[in-house]
Symmetry: C2
């Protein structure tokens, strides 16, 4: 989903690089892309993903079908395009040493949510809901999942002074992923739930060794 691309600088520190200042063309493209995606998610939510054709999305966004495909190679991309995985990875990376991997991931989650507006959270919920109810979308996000897990394994391994292939490292990553997933599933079914708080609580349980 990603916020309106007009708010360009994502990596807070502007730095030295050239900031070519987006021309009119660039801005128009960004606006078109955002509009297509917005209409797509709206239609998918209202009529169902499978029941909505790309043609209808194009019509709603007032562009030609070929234009839709120019921005989003596949129908799934209309939904799964997102950069929170990378953001999460960076957030973990930024945690102070000395934390256990699970603590670090928990803190990273807190930081991540702290930077999101309510509107963005709602957007995320829409996306999760779609991804968790439409098999096709859940499938399309497999790549993201695997990539994130691999990256996290490297990060956690470094943090704990272990090998990324260490079974204990893998287990740790998997546990966090699974825990967050279940909370997301619940969230999809209970709109009013406080997602950030629930994730934090669940990770706290995990941190405590899942007492039951």
């Amino acid at each position: 989903m990603s916020p309106p691309p007009d708010a360009a600088p994502k990596t807070a520190s502007a730095g030295t690089a050239a900031a070519p200042r987006p021309g009119l063309r660039e801005r128009k493209k960004a606006r078109t892309k955002a509009a297509i995606q917005r209409e797509a998610v709206r239609l998918f939510r209202d009529r169902g993903y499978a029941a909505t054709t790309v043609e209808q999305v194009a019509a709603a966004a007032e562009v030609a079908p070929s234009t839709v495909y120019r921005y989003f190679p596949t129908k799934e991309d209309l939904v799964i395009s997102d950069d929170y995985d990378d953001a999460f990875f960076r957030a973990v990376n930024a945690q102070p040493a000395g934390l256990t991997p699970i603590q670090a991931q928990r803190e990273a989650m807190r930081d991540l949510f702290a930077g999101l507006s309510d509107a963005e959270l709602t957007q995320q919920r829409e996306r999760w809901l779609l991804m968790l109810s439409e098999p096709e979308l859940w499938g399309a996000s497999l790549g993201n999942i695997k990539r994130t897990m691999r990256a996290m394994a490297g990060e956690v391994a470094g943090r704990a002074g272990r090998d990324p292939a260490d079974p204990a490292v893998r287990a740790s990553i998997g546990a966090v992923f699974g825990v967050v997933l279940t909370v997301a599933v619940d969230w999809a079914e209970q709109p009013d739930m406080d997602f950030p708080a629930a994730v934090d609580q669940a990770l706290a349980y995990l941190e405590a060794g899942l007492p039951l």
Copy 2:
């Protein structure tokens, strides 16, 4: 995949129910279905899932395309049809009281694997590999995942004297799922790995509170 349906009695105890003894027709059907599925998995593995058409599967199994669809409503069903989820649930259910939920699930896994032949394990690996590499299949298995998790929540809740909606219960379920998933991912990439042992080890880590 499920073992050749000829080996009918899955729940060891044959019990009282009528065993109508399969007629020739039944056996033929079962054989046809098994053959289609076997050829499908073979072709998918060799040529890739997307690159293999249902028509090719039909040709390889020496039946008409319409026959394939009679047995398997969708192309995905050629792979994801399986009853290990239920088996796992029953195995957990059969564990003695007094174990923690994670211990119970770990023991259930052991029991489950103990009942599988090497051939069946290999078959499972083929399926996991396909499901974890083909987004479409991973997506199609979402239903199974959610159903299993829901069922497990009920089971664990009863076992721990909690509510199925209790966050601690959900977290526990999710952690186990995630841990097993990561091991499966590794397994898909490392054919020679001892999957049952690795799962057991990973769950042992989880049981110990994921020390790192």
